[in-house]
């Protein structure tokens, strides 16, 4: 973005404003001059610092990033740190761009039942990431997951099958310019990114390696040991779930925000559920039972740190005009707040206030901000509500994995708590 002059002016203006706002309390966060919001990081080997910033391409809004250490499972001690890996509770598995991995790092490729090299076409809403499925050891904070399958995005792109090329938008996101992050840490409530119902356009076996024109075959019976796994559920300890905490931020946004990920739930002194309300998730879809408010009951609703806005179906407020920087988001005439109720599949309920501001005004008046707690976008229709990253500011949100228990409780995942 070419806002430099405006940014400079705004920063001078914001100096006074942010001091004032921080005095009003971010509830657990400290907003400093320059619009940064920080929180103190707990100590412990199960803690992973999070930063919300503009991302590696300086274009991200509401992206929560961590640094992940990828190690060779065969050459002990051969490791590489990768920053700006997106924390995503809306997908499963670690995916790293091949361009971010040093060529000497030995990560053996996995194979299907016929020992043919395995590849994956990971479909996201906006595009598809193609790459090989490889074995790696992962370090999160001070805890290691030994030898789990990950996807190396952008490996052997010449093998890209047409069915992957044509799926969804058909936009291929195999490099930093199209993926906008160096990797994705998928830590949703499931333990693997596919199950027995794996569709025919997700996993492929490709007998060729480097030569173009090699044909790839869809694989539906991927060996369970080769499915891309949730890195946290694969840890040697603290593997029953995790929590994400982001500092509170003012209503005009913040430039950089700190937070942290706590590995495990009720497994250490720093990751206790305490008085958190827990809501069970559907074991097949990972969704809540419903979310209600805004005069609607939304049958499709879920908590997703990888969605950068509240997504609200069937509103009466307008989307931002195409000519404005907020295009794609909501632009209500004045800021408002929805009183929403989340209901889990166990009928536990929680009330949450959802602030929504005019996105064009947010982006225009806070051009250096990368974090907003009141950014909202349309949902698919009036059945649809997403608790995106704004939900995580000023909260500690637990995600317990499927078939996992929480010590000291009778609870079993999948569930969320906050």
């Amino acid at each position: 973005m070419s806002y430099e002059k405006i940014v400079l002016m705004m920063r001078v203006l914001m100096l006074g404003l942010t001091v004032f706002l921080s005095a009003c309390g971010g509830g657990g966060g400290n907003v400093s001059t320059g619009g940064n919001a920080s929180t103190s990081i707990p100590s412990g080997n199960n803690v992973l610092p999070i930063t919300v910033d503009a991302g590696p391409n300086n274009n991200y809004v509401n992206g929560a990033f961590v640094t992940v250490t990828v190690c060779s499972p065969v050459n002990t001690g051969q490791c590489h740190d990768i920053d700006h890996v997106l924390v995503d509770t809306g997908s499963i598995g670690l995916r790293i761009l091949s361009s971010e991995l040093p060529s000497g790092l030995s990560l053996p490729q996995l194979a299907d039942n016929n020992l043919v090299p395995l590849y994956e076409c990971m479909q996201f809403a906006d595009g598809n990431a193609w790459g090989s499925v490889n074995s790696a050891s992962i370090k999160l904070g001070g805890i290691t997951a030994n030898t789990l399958p990950i996807q190396i995005i952008g490996a052997n792109t010449q093998l890209l099958p047409s069915s992957c090329q044509n799926a969804g938008t058909g936009k291929i996101e195999n490099d930093i310019n199209t993926l906008d992050v160096r990797g994705i840490l998928g830590v949703g409530a499931f333990k693997a990114d596919c199950d027995a119902n794996c569709t025919g356009i997700q996993y492929f076996s490709c007998p060729g390696t480097a030569s173009s024109g090699s044909s790839c075959n869809p694989v539906s019976n991927v060996p369970a040991s080769a499915l891309v796994k949730n890195p946290v559920s694969s840890l040697s300890q603290h593997n029953n779930g995790m929590a994400i905490h982001l500092s509170g931020i003012p209503s005009d946004g913040a430039r950089n925000v700190t937070g942290y990920m706590l590995l495990g739930i009720n497994t250490a002194s720093n990751n206790n559920l305490g008085q958190a309300t827990t809501l069970a998730l559907d074991p097949d879809s990972g969704q809540l039972l419903s979310s209600s408010g805004n005069n609607h009951s939304y049958a499709i609703s879920f908590v997703d740190s990888g969605t950068n806005a509240w997504e609200v179906g069937a509103t009466t407020f307008p989307t931002c005009p195409v000519s404005q920087v907020g295009v794609g988001f909501y632009c209500p005439a004045s800021a408002l707040s929805l009183n929403m109720t989340m209901t889990g599949t166990d009928y536990h309920q929680a009330s949450v206030s959802v602030p929504i501001a005019n996105a064009t005004m947010l982006f225009t008046s806070s051009p250096s901000a990368n974090a907003f707690n009141n950014l909202a976008a349309p949902g698919k229709d009036d059945t649809f509500f997403v608790w995106g990253l704004p939900f995580f500011y000023n909260r500690t949100v637990f995600t317990a994995f499927e078939q996992s228990t929480m010590p000291g409780t009778a609870l079993t995942g999948p569930l969320i708590g906050f």
Partner: protein, 149 residues
Amino acid sequence: MPFSTRLTALSLVFAALSLSPLSAEAALGEIFTVQETTSTTVVRHVGTRYQWQETRHADGSVLREYASHDGKVFAIHWTGASAPSLNQALGQHYSSAMQSLKSHPHDHHHWHVVTDTLVVHAHSYLRSYFGEAYLPQQIPAGMTAQDLY
């Protein structure tokens, strides 16, 4: 009340056979057609103000196309374990949608196009994909996109 409860004029199941079921191959702005494929089921409903045709794929994903009575598709909805090929489903509107995808803020779990001539909302979460696309100027008089179920 969902509009579909009033769609009682005519309801046809075209095929539910595993050997030679049918697949809807129409695109936004084009005329409904039905073609044979090997792994889909097509259901069609004809209502008083519009008709719709639903294609169910083997993986459970569903693509529903809404058309006016002349058969011209003005909206599509999708849900399930895979997203449809939007190149095919958006037809002549695909390139402008992709142009908007490049220029609009988006992330990996949602993107939106909202213009006078085309609206797209697409989402993904875990193993599910959801979306809708419609031509606002082609929606039959007296109804809105929210009336489509």
